[in-house]
């Protein structure tokens, strides 16, 4: 949360012109992709831990069908709420389903939703922000007022209300999340675009008769992408918390689908008798969020050491 705010303050300024006037410092943010970043990233142990956690979880998720000892939905009714054993390494839930298999397959959904949501948020945010910044004038004013409006609410709250109107289901969870999360990206992209617009190479392109569309797609957006990808990595933790939270409330995936938030919800009635049903999925979510946060912080520091 805090790291995001610091990052936001560094790239989105109260007045976008501040970036434009900062000249060289902007370059450190905008022109990235040099090998230095990765070297710096690898010198930051916290970032390495984050990277390792994310890499591990993604690998586990991808290889879930190979690793999982059972079908995550298969019910072994004679083996309900069993303690860990050789057949069920983490025990079973109230329907006799293998907890380890559900966690592994849950990783696919939980992390997959975060990936999809990040991608959608990026697409919408970059497009709207680039149009707003490059077009300027009335369109820009309208878009920025809409952004102000969305950001006037705590993000999760508005996402919750939108999901509530659309109706339960993972699709409406994604609709709710994306239609709220794009706003801060749009504002940042707009700030970056405003500063880029005045830079000599864009002016040169304009003077050379390149069309606005081509300037946006070939010159503006490629320069906006790197800092925005960092922002996206900072946001993945909070996206996972939000999506799993909505699933926990039963508004997203429906039983018997294995997803970490939904598994937490399924375990609620057994908190007293079988707390492990809630402990494992919670641990998984926390670990993933921690990995995303560490990695995001590290990326931000590597890109812009001033913020450390």
């Amino acid at each position: 949360m805090n790291s995001k705010r610091r990052y936001l303050e560094s790239v989105t300024p109260h007045a976008p012109f501040e970036i434009a006037n900062e000249g060289d410092e902007t370059i450190s943010l905008v022109v990235v992709g040099r090998p230095g970043i990765f070297v710096r990233l690898l010198h930051d142990w916290a970032a390495i831990v984050g990277l390792a956690i994310v890499f591990l979880l993604v690998t586990l998720a991808l290889s879930a069908p190979l690793l999982a000892p059972h079908d995550p939905a298969a019910q072994h009714l004679a083996e309900r709420l069993k303690a860990p054993s050789l057949t069920f390494p983490l025990g079973t839930d109230n329907l006799g389903r293998c907890l380890l298999s559900r966690l592994l397959f849950g990783a696919r959904l939980s992390l997959g939703f975060v990936g999809v949501a990040s991608l959608l948020v990026l697409l919408v945010g970059v497009f709207v922000g680039a149009v707003s910044g490059y077009a300027g004038g009335f369109l820009d004013a309208v878009i920025m007022r809409v952004v102000d409006l969305v950001l006037a609410f705590p993000l999760l709250l508005l996402a919750l209300a939108i999901t509530g109107f659309v109706g339960a289901g993972i699709g409406s969870v994604l609709v709710g999340i994306v239609s709220v999360w794009w706003a801060s990206y749009a504002r940042i992209v707009r700030g970056l675009v405003l500063s880029l617009r005045e830079r000599p190479f864009i002016e040169a392109a304009r003077a050379g008769g390149v069309t606005p569309i081509r300037i946006i797609t070939r010159h503006v957006i490629p320069n906006v992408i790197p800092p925005i990808v960092v922002l996206a990595s900072l946001e993945m933790g909070s996206l996972l918390l939000a999506i799993s939270g909505l699933n926990f409330l039963g508004l997203g995936v429906q039983p018997p689908t294995a997803e970490w938030g939904a598994m937490l919800n399924d375990g609620r009635p057994f908190l007293r008798s079988a707390p492990q049903l809630m402990i494992y999925p919670g641990l998984a979510i926390s670990l993933a969020v921690m990995g995303f946060n560490l990695l995001g912080d590290g990326l931000r520091d590597a890109l812009d050491p001033r913020l450390r």
Binding site: M1, N2, R5, R6, H14, A15, R145, V146, D148, L149, A152, F153, P154, L156, L157, L158, L160, A161, I162, T163, G164, F165, V166, G167, G237, L241, S244, G245, F248, L249, G250, L251, G261, L264, R268, L271, R272, P275, M278, P281, G282, I285, S286, V289, M290, N293, L294
Partner: protein
């Protein structure tokens, strides 16, 4: 200052109109024909075609969208947000009855967050690099990574089920407030502690601190008399913002602890597809959040004269 206050307050009007528009448009996202939905919700027996037609006429559902918005806004401005499908009570009345409980939990969480964050952040900055600093950093990372909807159950497991010190849920007695407030406050404590640390570190590197040290003041005096005040300024702003987030974050926590606040009301309304209630909630909480952020801006301008006298773009955006 007067001019600043006036401009900031006037800027609330378009924002509030925007929020009302958002709340109105959201209700149009609901699937199904609205007249049929209302007819089903108002009577237990399946409604006839005639009843549906009557409702369509009564609610003016065939009018153009802007007309319906204007009519809805008119009654909303008079405090009429419609009738809840679920409880058959006026929406505004329900929100007003439940809001104090939410306010209570958010205030308690803020107190807990500040009580943890300020000493921890200050100590971590003063003893930079010590084990306390590292522990505070690890704690902050943990606080930011644990989902509140999991932390809640860990706390229940420990304090309510294993130790039996506090009730599992509900709002009976003062003890019932502790667990929800703790659940809500710990995440915010992490954010505020990190901010306090970095803000104080920045101030401790300033020239005036070096001057204070070089004139022979003790470290305590340097800290208490010269450094804390400027360092806590950004913390104060973020505290205001954090309060808004606590009100929002209270939703899931309230649902877990069966705490009778607006968050719990929202979740139950979502489960029951109580659209007027969700719509009323968006408008009501939107109003609350804009008022809070305006109050934060104004208090900040009151404390920090640099903002008050800034000519360009007086609104903190």
């Amino acid at each position: 200052m007067k001019r600043y206050v006036l401009i900031r307050l006037l800027s609330l009007i378009p924002l509030w109109l925007g929020i009302s528009m958002l709340a109105f448009l959201l209700s149009n996202l609901a699937p199904g024909d609205p007249a049929t939905v209302i007819a089903h919700r108002l009577s237990d027996a399946p409604p006839s075609e005639e009843q549906i037609a009557t409702i369509r006429r009564e609610y003016h559902l065939d009018d153009a969208l802007p007309v319906r918005y204007a009519r809805w806004l008119g009654s909303a401005a008079r405090g009429d947000l419609g009738i809840s499908y679920r409880t058959k009570e006026p929406v505004l009345k329900e929100l007003a009855t439940h809001f104090p409980a939410t306010l209570q939990i958010a205030c308690a969480a803020l107190v807990i967050a500040l009580a943890i964050a300020l000493p921890l952040g200050v100590f971590a900055a003063v003893r930079r690099g010590s084990w306390i600093d590292h522990a505070a950093r690890a704690g902050a990372l943990l606080g930011a990574s644990l989902p509140s909807y999991w932390l809640a159950y860990l706390l229940i497991l420990l304090f309510a089920l294993a130790l039996g010190w506090l009730p599992v849920a509900g709002r009976d007695g003062p003890g019932a407030l502790i667990l929800p407030a703790l659940t809500l406050g710990l995440g915010t404590a992490a954010t505020l502690a990190r901010l306090t640390r970095s803000s104080l570190l920045e101030v401790l590197g300033e020239d005036f601190v070096r001057t204070a040290r070089s004139k022979g003041l003790s470290e305590t005096a340097v800290l208490c008399r010269h450094s804390l005040k400027p360092a806590l300024l950004p913390v104060l702003t973020v505290t205001g913002i954090a309060f808004g987030h606590l009100l929002g974050g209270a939703v899931i926590v309230e649902a877990i602890y069966a705490w009778p606040g607006v968050g719990n009301l929202l979740i139950n309304s979502i489960y029951d597809r109580d659209y007027p209630m969700i719509q009323g909630f968006v408008l009501f909480m939107g109003t609350v959040f804009t008022l809070i952020s305006a109050a934060v801006d104004l208090s900040y301008a009151w404390i920090d004269p640099r903002i008050r006298y800034a000519k360009k773009r007086p609104i903190g955006r």
